[in-house]
């Protein structure tokens, strides 16, 4: 009994133009795969200007200011953190993993901590006594602890504005970033976006995962790319 699905190593007689799985729709890769940190920032559809200004002001006036992003997984907390980090060359960004010891936290202006609810007591104390502006992405409200350390806290719930318009923009940027050459690209319509929102709600990570499989199922195909059947 043998089962084999499509896979390819480049062979001696292959040629590039015929070889690309999505060359037929002008894509050099599946647009919904994992991205590097830099790519994620450059493709983010977030408005971080307001938060950047708040932090900038706090740094100028040496105020203890903290911003908290609260939301469920897949709603865009980390993307916003990374987008903010790209605006501050002096900042430090630390991700606190679940099953590992609390990592080293470098000084920064501001200090950004992702999954901050996992910080150990000592690590949290070290961050909060630094006096520098803080940005936390967290699943648990840490306002009380921040206020106790003299911080002025503003909390934002992330994910409530995840709608079809935002999804359309996000998907279009992803597709454009995977362009192979000049010419037409697959079109992601508002109708596609609305149907996906109905199906997955505001969980954009789940939508990206679904779209990956959709695009993957159409490699070496022809005609028009279908994002939702």
């Amino acid at each position: 009994m043998t089962k084999s699905t499509l896979y390819r190593n480049a062979g001696q007689n292959d040629c590039r133009s015929e070889w690309l799985p999505w060359g037929w729709c002008n894509l050099r890769r599946n647009p919904f795969g994992e991205l590097t940190r830099d790519e994620r920032v450059s493709l983010a559809v977030t408005d971080v200007v307001q938060w950047s200004e708040t932090l900038q002001q706090a740094m100028l006036e040496c105020q203890r200011v903290a911003i908290q992003f609260i939301g469920r997984a897949g709603r865009g907390k980390t993307t916003r953190m990374l987008a903010l980090a790209s605006n501050f060359p002096e900042c430090s960004y630390t991700y606190v993993a679940e099953d590992e010891p609390c990592p080293a936290i470098p000084w920064g202006r501001p200090i950004l901590v992702d999954e901050a609810q996992r910080l150990t007591r000592r690590a949290r104390q070290a961050v909060m006594t630094s006096g520098e502006p803080i940005v936390f992405a967290t699943h648990r409200d840490l306002t009380k602890a921040l206020r106790a350390s003299g911080y002025d806290v503003t909390t934002y719930t992330i994910g409530t504005s995840n709608d079809a318009t935002l999804l359309c923009e996000l998907v279009r940027r992803r597709i454009e970033a995977s362009r192979d050459g000049d010419g037409e690209m697959p079109e992601f319509t508002r109708n596609d976006a609305e149907r996906l929102i109905v199906r997955f709600g505001t969980d954009f990570r789940a939508i990206e995962s679904f779209l990956y499989d959709q695009v993957q199922s159409q490699c070496y195909s022809y005609g028009e790319m279908r994002f939702i059947d």
Partner: protein
């Protein structure tokens, strides 16, 4: 249009390039304003894309131009670059590997214009068996040492903790019982019934189109009825996305073949039963690849199905490598192909490490050389960790640019001096990230250095895999030692 546009044209860009060879072409630059360029860099790189975290590697970088471009300027810069000979171009379901020529113009106070052009690469021959086995043995030794260390540590912790807290003793006892039951049902019971059982394969490294051949021997203690003996031959892509709680492992089996070596029968007591097997790999079999979070794994799993009894199972380590007759999988002059002894993965992009393995013999090794080795393998945590183990305890004169102090250096970090500090720094050339552990009495010295260059003596103590930094403990001033 941006102030400056780049494009790349490859010579023979449509044909498959051979790994370790050269690729040439032209970088075209068009400007519509006066532009100062701090370097027009062109490089050959490989990258993964798909479901796993992106892995990437650079083969060769050249700077083609440095200076000013005037408005309306159009120029062509020819280049010739080496092509990495591993990993090969591959497209699957969750894992894809592609090679590119990338160009980037460094423009001060502006976004750097970039261009990239993909090309296909295939390795030109077989993995170098001698290097492979030498590395595998070394790897196995280190892994074995670590394992023995862990068991020792576990036993010591168990004794201490159980003496202090009986509840923890119960926890440890339950964990040990679970482990024992697993071993009892998975290993002991099948072997108890089947008696002497062994399996040999002719070679663990095979090439596409070749046969994997071996034999399963069974000499049971008593008559044993079996349902079947089968060999399941499988290839899968295994990719990890995210990290921590967001970590997800994606697996896609893209090849599966089941060979029935024996149907239902009775194995006669004290008689040697041999089950030879021979499975041919597809001629286009994808090569085994291990790129951190992006693996392509081949495995052969033997199973003796025993009715109303736990089955006997064994996974055979195999790796699919390019055909014989060349050095594919080994970098041009710094690389080595390697297959961990007890793994069916291949990690061929590790630069050869030529550093003393004894902590007492570093008179001939400079920190610059050591830093260069770490720099070349900084994207491969496993290799960097292995190198760190090899050079651990070596003391060097170090010159590093201080970046920032740590607010918190980790509760479990054993390297921090009591009341000491930890700072992040960067070696000058190459810009290798370093974590320096500073004794309390040198605090003032580091305060004065600020973000300048610090010079001093330090000892390698490990590799920080989270931040990809070489960990160095700054030596105490001799007057205080």
């Amino acid at each position: 249009m941006a102030k400056c546009d780049l494009s790349i044209e490859l010579n023979d860009g449509d044909v498959v390039q051979t790994g370790g060879g050269k690729i040439s072409g032209i970088v075209r630059v068009r400007t519509d304003a006066n532009v100062k360029c701090n370097g027009l860099d062109v490089r050959t790189v490989w990258k993964t894309h798909g479901r796993g975290n992106v892995a990437t590697g650079t083969c060769e970088t050249k700077t083609l131009f440095l200076g000013d471009w005037t408005a309306g300027h159009a120029a062509e810069y020819p280049f010739e670059l080496e092509i990495a000979n591993w990993p090969p171009t591959y497209h699957g379901n969750y894992l894809n590997i592609d090679h590119y020529v990338e160009a980037q113009a460094k423009i001060p106070w502006a976004f750097d214009p970039k261009a990239s052009q993909m090309f296909l690469m295939r390795p030109t021959g077989g993995a170098n068996a001698a290097i492979t086995h030498a590395t595998a043995t070394k790897s196995g030794g280190i892994v074995g040492g670590i394992l023995v260390g862990f068991i020792g540590l576990f036993m010591a912790t168990f004794c201490i903790v159980s003496a202090m807290n009986p509840i923890v003793l119960v926890f440890f006892a339950l964990a040990a019982l679970g482990g024992f039951l697993f071993w009892f049902f998975r290993s002991f019971l099948p072997k108890f019934l089947l008696g002497e059982i062994d399996c040999k394969i002719e070679k663990e490294l095979v090439s596409p189109g070749e046969k994997i051949q071996g034999t399963l021997f069974i000499r049971p203690r008593r008559n044993v009825s079996i349902n079947k003996v089968e060999l399941k031959f499988e290839a899968r892509e295994q990719c990890v996305s995210g990290s921590g709680s967001n970590k997800t492992t994606h697996q896609h089996v893209f090849f599966e073949k089941v060979e029935h070596l024996e149907q239902a029968t009775t194995l006669v007591a004290h008689q040697a039963h041999e089950f030879p097997f021979s499975v041919q790999l597809p001629a286009d079999a994808a090569y085994s690849v291990d790129l951190s979070d992006n693996d392509l794994i081949w495995s052969a799993n033997l199973r003796v199905d025993i009715p109303r009894w736990p089955d006997w199972r064994k996974a055979l380590p195999i790796a699919v490598v390019p055909g014989d007759g060349s050095t594919a999988g080994t970098s041009r002059d710094t690389g080595t192909s390697r297959v961990p002894e007890r793994s069916n993965r291949i990690e061929p992009d590790l630069p050869a490490v030529d550093v003393p393995l004894s902590a007492n013999d570093n008179s001939l090794v400079t920190f610059a050389e050591t830093a260069n080795h770490f720099w070349s393998m900084r994207d491969n945590n496993d290799a960097a960790k292995m190198l760190a183990e090899a050079v651990m305890g070596l003391s060097f004169m170090i010159e590093a640019k201080i970046e920032r102090r740590l607010l918190y250096s980790g509760e479990d970090d054993p390297h921090v001096y009591p009341n000491g500090y930890a700072v992040w720094a960067q070696y000058t050339d190459p810009p290798l990230p370093i974590a320096l552990y500073v004794p309390h009495e040198l605090g003032d010295e580091f305060e004065q250095v600020g973000r300048g260059i610090w010079k001093g003596q330090g000892t390698v103590v490990g590799w920080d895999h989270v931040h990809r930094r070489l960990q160095i403990k700054v030596d105490r001033p001799s007057s205080l030692v």
